[in-house]
């Protein structure tokens, strides 16, 4: 099929398409042709394709209604495979070679859709029908739901990862102009001339806005020519940036406006290294909204037939795309706008079968021109009913008496009905910016009233639709915006002359009553199949707030977000409840203006870039050593070093035993390190830790715990005194960032009198811990200038030295319970020192160990960690650490410790667990229950729980599974038997409560 509906070339208004080149595309498998400059919608119309989709609920056949973002019906599935995309508006897709489109929400085919049975049964499906049924039998809802879900939804998601990528741009500008129509271009020209940094964005493929679809003159030339010249003038200004194919979708606080630029949606796929879309985050000093207006339809019976479209759309298809929307058109209007459409279409050779005008006496230049052109005007009439199924075949018109139909109906044969119910200013962004709206009774629409941010509104968006006014207001707004942003004196450029006829007043009319009750469906929201009767039903049942109306009927909740339906629905409701529209309310406009691709919002933060990855200085060594890694906060830590043939458990056991028997080394660079300096450093430590720090000698460290102000354990670690007023604090890996900000809070906010500075040095130091009976030998072999004997460097001692010629800090501390040393070195040299230690340890049998073995070693030693044991609900005493809680000084959290529940005798306390039968495994996360009726295996819930396994492991040292647990009054219950139950795994084993320290409870090994 060739392009039967394409206008012939030649003449002044032959469209803005490039007829020299042909584009092949496919729709539902048919190959069709169009031209560059077409949208998918215009190309489909050019090829005579009327039926483009099926509606959401009734699966009624639907055609193209609009020409841009307002389109409710023409939603298609674009592209195939991993690039497929559902619900794309055909009116906004630029035609390109190889474009593949499919209709949606139909089965088996668009022409024959079984879902249309819903339409036959539609009497059963009024608004909210689902709230009233599907309740019996109760258990069947899930069954009903499966079918409801299947018929709902629209297009389909891709099932493979998106191969395209997306970019983010953060920019500041002086004036952001949203909308590249006449008002926006004038605003940009006004601001740009003064040298302001200006960004102009427009959602269309080309700047120009609605004048590209009209036959108007600006400055004596056709408007599209004026647009091109103005665009060229702007492009030559160094501080002006023009962004076509770019939609401003969000207006956030403090003049942050977000734009999405469709960089490569108009081609088959993005070029190499080209993003598909780009998100612009624009912080603008001033914003000019020149967003235009959206034409609204008039509601009448069966107004959804394919061929019923907006008058402005019919005109734009002819003038911009050189497509006649049909062979025989009827206009239905309550204002002058449709007359221009009629005249343009007549000039394009379309048979204009009549203009049905609800106004009893249309006067003014446009109706006069129509009369002069011999067009039939049916004044004081309305279209009462549309005929046709998959395509419009005609309409019935009737005389109007006020808002009522009167007399008998007359048929008019036509295949297109172009409707204009007036215009709604596109106030979405203004409202998103918290600006207040006002209902204008003359226009019958909401217009901007009081702005809440640094924003100007110009032209149609402000409710001033005449071209001359748009140009003048744009110029004024641009000049004002520039002046307020610090550029120029606010003088606007001269407004160019225009050719437009002054319009006569329109008559606000929302809906035409049915010829007889129940005849035809009067759609308000065509996408979601919401009718005027649905609105009435909602009102009748008490859903009278506009939000109730939307939610009960789904009015305006579709992908078009009600651009052509919200105000109309509101007006119909207002008529029913007898309250003025502003009293019934408006809906809140929220971002996004039009739906935004998820990928664009995320930009580059996908895949491994979701969050930054932190590696220690020794990471490459671990990789080479075959480590398996685990996430620890943002860090990747070596979990274990499996050797060929080993299971994970075997590797862990080997690493543990080697450390207990010989010597192990572990990368502890991830621990938080905070440098603390100042004359009040000791006092500061006294306040943040529960224990006392005044007597700590230089060159010695001490273990400390910190509480939150509610008395619960927050973090722990060792802090070492490096000098009289100089300490190095360590924190847990997980809390490093939090502790740092917390210390800053106390110092800056609560205790500004303390003379202390803190600095995070986590990243500055790499750290390796040697542990095991042979650790001293290894260190002695590696270190230069340090006596590592127990006398010279005792437990909790600290010294500086060199390893491989590099200065290091040596701390004698231990987490494993073995003789241990931690070596800190400037991160750049971490690898060198690590390798030196490995080399020195070679003859002593050194092996690296990962976080798994580290965990086993600490469980065997009975150390709690923040997370499983210190879970934010445990006190120091719960963890058996009341000895570290000073009675004599204040510290953060102390005052909370005496609250009754913190002293309760049945608090959960840290204990150890051993299986009664050494062969039994204590699986992870068991709950502990006592023997006795009501708590045994298979007992009826709720089963009283005595405690919980917080950490479990197989202890190669002891040859059995062990665990740490929090048990009610646990310290008094050593020796008692409980059952470690795991209903999730079906396991239950008897366990004995034991002290939490399994090996070397006296700590002798630490002090050798």
């Amino acid at each position: 099929m060739s392009q039967l509906f394409r206008m012939a070339p030649g003449g002044a208004w032959a469209g803005l398409i490039d007829r020299s080149r042909e584009i092949r595309f496919s729709f539902d498998g048919r190959t069709l042709r169009g031209h560059p400059g077409d949208t998918l919608a215009s190309a489909l119309l050019a090829n005579g394709v009327r039926l483009v989709g099926r509606s959401f609920k009734y699966h009624r056949p639907r055609g193209i209604v609009g020409v841009g973002a307002e389109e409710p019906n023409a939603l298609i599935q674009l592209r195939r495979g991993e690039r497929t995309e559902p619900n794309v508006r055909a009116t906004q897709i630029e035609l390109h070679d190889g474009l593949e489109a499919e209709s949606q929400n139909r089965w088996p085919s668009l022409g024959f859709d079984l879902g249309a049975v819903n339409s036959a049964l539609s009497g059963l499906f009024p608004a909210g029908f689902y709230y009233k049924t599907f309740m019996w039998p109760a258990s069947w809802w899930m069954f009903y739901e499966t079918f409801i879900r299947r018929v709902a939804g629209m297009g389909k998601t891709a099932t493979a990862a998106d191969p395209d990528h997306y970019e983010h741009m953060h920019v500041h500008c002086d004036v952001l102009v949203v909308g590249g129509g006449p008002a926006g271009l004038m605003a940009a020209r006004a601001a740009g001339r003064w040298g302001a940094r200006v960004i102009v964005c427009d959602e269309g493929a080309a700047l120009g806005g609605s004048v590209l679809g009209e036959r108007l003159f600006i400055d004596g030339k056709p408007a599209p020519d004026w647009v091109r010249e103005t665009e060229a003038e702007l492009a030559a200004m160094p501080e002006v940036r023009l962004l076509a194919r770019t939609t401003a979708f969000g207006y956030y606080d403090q003049n942050m406006v977000t734009l999405v630029e469709r960089v490569a949606d108009h081609v088959l796929m993005p070029g190499h290294h080209q993003p598909r879309q780009r998100l612009w985050l624009v912080r603008a000093r001033r914003v000019v909204l020149a967003t235009g207006a959206i034409e609204r339809p008039i509601v009448f019976a069966d107004n959804d037939r394919p061929g019923v479209m907006l008058a402005s759309a019919a005109r734009a298809y002819a003038n911009r795309y050189a497509v006649i929307p049909g062979k025989r058109v009827v206009l239905f209007t309550c204002n002058d706008g449709a007359y221009a459409t009629a005249l343009d279409l007549a000039d394009a050779g379309v048979d204009v079968a009549g203009i049905v005008d609800t106004r009893p006496d249309p006067t003014g230049p446009l109706p006069a021109r129509a009369r002069a052109a011999g067009l039939a005007i049916h004044a004081g009439h309305a279209v009462a009913l549309a005929h046709g199924g998959k395509a419009l075949s005609g309409v019935e018109i009737m005389a109007l008496d006020g808002d009522r139909l009167t007399g008998s109906s007359r048929p008019l044969h036509c295949d297109v009905l172009a409707v204009s119910g007036g215009w709604n200013p596109a106030v979405h962004l203004f409202s998103q910016a918290q600006g207040k709206l006002r209902f204008d009774d003359i226009l019958g629409s909401f217009v901007p009233d009081r702005a809440a941010q640094a924003v100007h509104v110009a032209g149609s968006a402000a409710g001033h639709f005449a071209l001359g006014q748009c140009l003048a207001e744009g110029a004024r707004a641009g000049a004002d915006a520039a002046r307020l942003a610090g550029f120029g004196d606010g003088t606007p450029p001269a407004t160019p002359a225009t050719s437009e006829d002054a319009p006569a007043p329109h008559r606000t009319l929302w809906a035409i009553p049915p010829i007889e009750p129940g005849k035809g469906k009067r759609f308000v929201d065509v996408q979601n199949d919401v009718t005027a009767e649905d609105v009435a039903l909602a009102a009748r049942e008490g859903y009278r707030s506009v939000e109730h109306l939307k939610r009960y009927t789904t009015l305006g909740m579709g992908t078009d977000q009600g651009k052509t339906s919200n105000i109309t629905g509101l007006a119909i409701l207002s008529g029913i409840v007898g309250e003025p529209i502003p009293k019934v309310g408006t809906t809140t406009f929220r971002a996004p203006y039009t739906p935004v691709t998820f990928g664009t919002l995320v930009g580059p933060e996908v895949g491994e870039h979701l969050d930054p990855i932190r590696h220690s200085a020794m990471h490459p060594w671990h990789v080479k050593a075959g480590a398996q890694f685990v996430n620890a906060g943002l860090w990747k830590r070596a979990q274990l070093y499996r050797r060929p043939g080993e299971t994970e458990q075997q590797a862990i056991d080997r690493e543990v035993l080697n450390t207990r028997e010989k010597v192990g080394i572990v990368d502890v660079s991830t621990l938080g390190k905070i440098d603390i300096q100042g004359p009040d450093a000791v006092e500061f430590l006294n306040r943040v830790y529960t224990n006392a720090w005044s007597k700590l000698e230089i060159g010695r460290g001490r273990y400390g715990i910190m509480l939150r102000e509610d008395g619960m354990v927050f973090d722990d670690g060792t802090t070492t005194r490096l000098g009289p007023n100089h300490f190095l604090m360590t924190t847990t890996t997980a809390n490093a960032v939090r502790v740092m900000a917390w210390l800053e809070y106390w110092l800056q906010v609560q205790w500004p009198d303390l003379k202390v500075y803190v600095a995070s040095v986590t990243e500055q130091w790499a750290a390796a811990a040697l542990a095991g009976p042979l650790a001293r030998l290894v260190l002695a072999d590696a270190v230069e200038g340090l006596d590592v004997s127990n006398e010279a460097l005792p437990f909790m001692g600290y010294a500086t030295a060199h390893i491989a010629g590099i200065p290091v800090r040596v701390f004698r501390i231990s987490f494993s319970g073995e003789l241990g040393f931690e070596v800190n070195v400037a991160a750049d040299h971490g690898m060198t020192v690590w390798e030196a230690l490995m080399k020195a340890g070679e003859k002593h049998g050194i092996m690296p160990y990962g976080t798994e073995a580290l965990g086993v070693l600490r469980i065997e030693k009975g150390h709690f960690v923040v997370g499983p044991e210190a879970d934010g609900r445990t006190t120091a005493d719960d963890l058996g650490l009341s000895g570290l809680v000073s009675k004599t000084k204040d510290f953060i959290g102390k005052r909370s410790l005496t609250r009754p529940a913190l002293l309760a005798p049945d608090r959960l306390q840290l204990v150890g667990l051993m299986p009664l039968d050494k062969k039994d495994e204590i699986v992870r996360g068991c709950q502990l229950v006592a023997d006795g009726p009501g708590s045994g295996r298979g007992a009826r819930p709720p089963v009283p729980m005595e405690g919980v396994v917080t950490s479990n492991c197989y202890s190669a040292t002891l040859g059995c599974w062990i665990a740490l647990a929090l048990v009610k009054a646990g310290r008094k219950r050593h020796g008692e038997t409980l059952h470690a139950q795991s209903p999730l795994t079906g396991r239950s084993v008897p366990v004995k409560i034991v002290p939490n320290v399994f090996i070397d409870p006296e700590g002798a090994r630490l002090r050798v």
Binding site: D253, Q254, M256, K894, R895
Partner: protein
């Protein structure tokens, strides 16, 4: 997106900051000397006004200073900022605060 005026660095995007809650929260100088109720109120009770709110922010991705910011929590309007220890401009009319009609 909030544009926050750090008294030390100037206005920056909210992504550079973390929130620290009501700036009026003041730790008792001598916790042992205050009543249980006073301590409880310090740890747990917040005025939580619906309107102008003086709050703490931390410029964690900048100068790492905590500071005070007055912000309308209904409109997100910024009403001034100051270093800790300096006074902010007196509050705007307190209509909308709890207990005030």
């Amino acid at each position: 997106m909030l544009l926050i005026d750090c008294p030390w660095c100037g206005t920056r995007d909210q992504r550079e900051f973390t929130y620290g809650g009501d700036a009026a929260v003041k730790r008792p100088a001598d916790p042992a000397a205050v009543s249980d109720k006073e301590w409880h109120d310090y740890v747990y009770i917040r005025v939580n006004p619906r309107g102008s709110h003086v709050e703490l922010w931390h410029h964690n991705a900048g100068c790492r200073r905590w500071f005070k910011l007055r912000r309308d929590v209904v409109t997100h309007e910024m009403q001034g900022s100051a270093p800790i220890g300096s006074e902010l401009e007196p509050p705007l009319p307190i209509a909308g605060r709890p207990g005030k009609p």
